[in-house]
């Protein structure tokens, strides 16, 4: 069995009295691309710096390719890093930048040239060898940074917010390209980002991080459809939150009694925590309740917002006066207008009871 590409177990790091990383653990298989996703301040950049060796680990274990690396200084860790601001050496040409790591490893000149050519072809920058970083666009700089990191044939690749410095249009185009390059290279990769679209677009699996801990790991679909906590439900996609408590009705089902009076039929939650709530994604709520929607909620359409391809209907619930926004497609035949009565429906399978953390 191949040793795991990256293994982090219970790592802890404090800055003064601040606990930046509080026992985070994750595991990436060899060749897998994992995104470390979370809001700013959650500890993801610190985690990346701990793996790279620029911060001292206080507790826990970090292993790359099966071997422990914590005792190694950064220049011995064989990890490729792409920084958020690319950190290309401004006083060296593109070729010299890409060569730098190979020179440190005393790679022979013709081997160096060959590898450099290969990599620049891979990132589609042939012909730019003699340029200086200042003469390159943001997207080009990012590709040079990638080529430079790959040149040392690292055991692990770390990317710090790779697309955040680019404008929106460029970001989309490069996201696809980046994933293609990473898959072609087949290297274990950890991408740190706060942007869920970036995470979903680039990674095989996503690890969600909040307040120094890794809260859930899974594919984009798994995380979206089965969020483990309120944080996950809120962070990826949109989520409506209802506080209350769960009452079991049998082995597989139960009811959720909301504090504000509503009652939902729900599936039994996987685990119960002391404080739980109900998370429902607005797009799973149907304007006209369908036959298999166990939950029916009468409401009145208060306001319609037009967003081009999509409409948002703000509906006031009869039961408690709460207003929820439900998206529908503009070409949806059932098009209620302002003031219309509707019966909202949602299936019990789409109502998730999750811990409130």
């Amino acid at each position: 069995m191949k040793p795991a590409g990256l293994q982090i177990e219970g790592i802890v790091k404090r800055f003064g009295s601040q606990l930046a990383v509080d026992g985070a653990s994750l595991c990436a298989a060899s060749g897998e691309i994992v995104a470390l996703l979370g809001p700013s301040g959650c500890g993801k950049t610190t985690t990346l710096r701990l793996i790279a060796g620029f911060e001292q680990l206080e507790a826990g274990r970090i292993a790359v390719g099966g071997s422990d690396i914590v005792h190694l200084p950064p220049f011995q860790r064989d990890i490729g890093l792409v920084f958020q601001d690319y950190a290309l050496f401004p006083h060296m040409t593109v070729a010299q930048n890409v060569d730098y790591g190979m020179r440190q490893r005393r790679v022979a000149q013709n081997e160096r040239e060959q590898r450099r050519r290969e990599l620049l072809r891979l990132v589609r920058l042939e012909g730019l060898e003699e340029r200086r970083p200042a003469a390159l666009s943001g997207g080009q700089q990012q590709r040079v940074a990638l080529a430079r990191a790959l040149a040392i044939s690292p055991k692990l690749l770390l990317l710090d917010e790779p697309l955040s410095n680019l404008d929106a249009k460029l970001r989309e185009a490069l996201r696809v390209e980046l994933r293609d390059i990473l898959q072609a290279v087949g290297m274990t990769t950890l991408v740190v980002t706060h942007d869920q679209v970036e995470a979903i677009g680039i990674a095989d699996r996503i690890a969600l991080m909040n307040r120094g801990r890794i809260v859930q790991i899974g594919t984009a679909r798994e995380i979206y459809e089965h969020p483990a906590t309120r944080f996950v439900a809120d962070f990826v996609g949109h989520s409506l939150w209802f506080s209350g408590h769960f009452e079991s009705d049998g082995i597989r089902a139960g009811r959720f009694l909301c504090d504000d009076g509503l009652v939902f039929v729900v599936e039994r939650p996987a685990a119960t925590a002391s404080h739980c709530g109900l998370s429902v994604r607005p797009e799973h709520i149907h304007l006209e309740a369908r036959s298999d929607d166990e939950n029916r909620i009468p409401a009145v359409v208060e306001r319609v917002e037009f967003f081009g391809a999509e409409l948002r209907l703000h509906c006031r619930l009869d039961a408690n006066g709460r207003i929820i926004a439900i998206p529908i497609r503009s070409d949806d035949p059932a098009m209620p207008g302002q003031g219309d009565r509707v019966e909202l429906g949602v299936s019990s399978t789409r109502c998730r009871v999750v811990p409130d953390e």
Partner: protein, 275 residues
Amino acid sequence: MRWRIAEDYAAAVIFRLLLAAIIFFLIVPIGVAVILSFDDREFIGTFPPTRFSLRWYRAFMQNPSYLDGLVVSLKLALVATMISIVAGAGAAIALTESQWRGRDVVETLFLSPKFVPTVVIGFSILGFASAIHVFDAFTRLVMGHVVITIPFTVRATLASLVGIPRSLGEAAVSLGATPWRAFVDITLPLARTGIIAGGLMAFVLSFDEVAVSIFLTDAFTQTLPIALVAEMRANLNLTVAAISTVLATLAVIIVLILDRAAGLDNVIGRGMYRG
């Protein structure tokens, strides 16, 4: 690549040692002076001293030429600093008020005395003073010391003025304040730290100045540094160690006050990549 880790470690150790050596080099003379200032012996003997007393401090305070020199230096520094602040801060404010033709040239002109060797300043003012029949030593000294201190008051005031948004003065004027009132109520208070910093530097600079003073003094009006050099030429003794210790303590106190008032971090700045 095991040897590379060892080589990296060795380099780090050498770096630390070098750093310690440099700091030692900078501090050791002051330490020696402080210790020697308490030496009880009458002559300059081998280090370290075995008996201690305050005789050299007494010698300093009882020596009339030192005391006279101290008084002259303090008066001179005060007068020169005052003139320098008024002229320099005024010029700095005039330079930032608005853009006008020749502004950059004038700014360079005000900062230029810094690039003129101090002996040249002293020498040239001596000749000029004689030419316009100014023979009073104290006046000549003030002239020289104002010239060398003006670049500092101008630059320090400029630095703090640059941080004041133009919109503040404009707001005051739109509310009915005359330019003079806007200046007094808004600009002056905000430029205060720059003016004080400039004044402090000017004072210290004037107090320690030798090259300018040596051309402009006469037998009756001597600054403390000049008196010191003259006395030490005649007979070198440890009074200078006592004086050095006093001045060193003063320097440390000033820096502590500076840190308390403004924070040394802010005085130096953190550069573009803070933290």
